[in-house]
Amino acid sequence: MEKFKKIESNAIPLPMVNVDTDMIIPKQFLKTIKRTGLGKNLFYELRYDEKDAPIDSFVLNQDKYKDSQILITGKNFGCGSSREHAPWSILDYGIKCIIASSFADIFYNNCFKNGILPIKLDESEVTKLQKAAENSLSFTIDLENQKISYFDKNINHEVSFELDKAKKTSLLEGLDDIGLTLAKVNHISDFENKQKSTTPWLYSQQIK
């Protein structure tokens, strides 16, 4: 996984609540056996009409947000399915940071596995950032110092955010989770040996 670096970009405002994984990437795009190439279909049904033509009013189709790396949205973002195609499509589109007042658990967790930073802030703070995003201001996301900053009418605004330490390190260093766990393979073997004696039926189970 790539290391998470400081982001400087304007932000896409998407003031909707309960944006679900079917909205993020509809099922017809889940038939792929690859992780890449999903960005063009991100928010498909909101973004394109029935004839596949872009819907001008949808925020992703507006020129000024074309290269945005930040998405600012409403509560419970990413609810629904466990499909990692949701963060894959977001990342493939070029978004590396999502700001919302809350996220669904599985989606939140999936973001970190793909180098995306989901930031949780109070709803009032998110609303302020939405406004700034609508004015297409430029934001800086500094994960190291856990700060979002932007200039509005020559005044520098700074917003701090909380993040679990392990998740922060994993993003900053682009860690290979599996490699880290495999480094503790002795613990896993010890556990299995112990479990074999306490609940032996788990190890004798076989299809008849």
């Binding site: 690859k34 466990s82 596995k113 599996i178 766990t181 039926w201």
Partner: protein, 467 residues
Amino acid sequence: MSTPKTLYDKIWNDHLVSENEDGTSIIYIDRHLVHEVTSPQAFEGLKIANRSVRKPNFTLATADHNIPTTNRDEGISDPESKLQVDTLEENCKEHGITFLSMSDKRQGIVHIIGPEQGFTQPGMTIVCGDSHTSTHGAFGALAWGIGTSEVEHVLATQTLVQTKAKNMQINIQGELPLGVTAKDIVLKIIQTIGTAGGTGYVIEYTGDAIKSLTMEGRMTVCNMSIEAGARAGLISPDEKTIEYLKGRPFSPAENEYQSASDYWLSLATDEGAAYDKTVNIDASDIIPQVTWGTSPEDVVSIDGLVPNPEDESDETKKKSMIRALEYMGLVPNTPLKEVKVDKVFIGSCTNGRIEDLRAASKIAKNRKVADHVNAIIVPGSGLVKQQAEEEGLDKIFIESGFEWREPGCSMCLAMNADKLKPQERCASTSNRNFEGRQGRGGRTHLMSPAMAAAAAINGKLSDCREI
């Protein structure tokens, strides 16, 4: 005496491999269910890193999301779907994982076949790259949905790195009225706590109304924990659990069954254990429920009206209600029972078990599906289908005008050919009524199997108790 513990605390403690310096824990995973949609990239990841599957025999795979429910002998016509299913089969062969193919009568939806085969057992940790893995919590197993990166992590290490969730108790006291089912209970729960109400929690369902449910009913309740925001839902194991698992193919052998059962019963939450949050709901207040909107929390009783956004004081909620009503093509204050349906779908990991089909068949018997309605029944597995046919349920359905299909996820997520056309309205026993879930522009109303069957007969949303 040690501190009283919840079922969740006990399973967590029994699976703790080690605690990392950063506060996370490595948790051992006893069983892993794999399907075609969320696994190919995980197997590819293993290959790139030159890693192998640690415990192939703790892993069970099948194809369910992407397969046809008609003309099975012709194979899969969609080339992308076929590639995905073939890829799973090849990956399983390469790594020595049991794969139940489309032609195997045990094939079905992962969350139906796990319990059916006895692969699911109390006290286990079970994961799958599918959010409805919470279903297996009905057995007192800690079961949750994971993304593809975690599927790869489990394949390679048989563990996951986790942070412990909080404990929530949802207590359903009292007795369920006649005609009210597990689906109505869980829809009522989601309406009560909201789709983010369970975020950060593992829910344990308790109370007389939960204890009185069959294992099938308990699975329906736990299945939709994720729609309430919780990754896992649990019910403490009891005699019903033990009885259900006896003699199933993967269940513990006879000489081990007693010690396994003793262990299972010991996992039930201790008297006096503390929950971080408790919600009480009175079962006798529940009547058949249906959804009106595009979020599973948009629930009303069947004798109610389509809600009016003007009655909502919260601006954001009001806006999303207006959007939902427009999408659903509904006018505020319309009685639910006047809403006509075009399609009916009975099936899914929520309601595709034998008990669900029996409930639907009781309504269908000696009645006809309304002329304008297309109704399909998709059993949750090949074995559910076989059992239903042995009981003659297929004949009842076919005589009534329902289509009798092959098992799979089908119109719950509409990845295969079974889907709604724009603006078509469906009475569905599935779990999500999101925009576009059952097909672009399709309008979904979630409900129980008896309620969906009643809608098929009357051609509109109906109270199954009045048929």
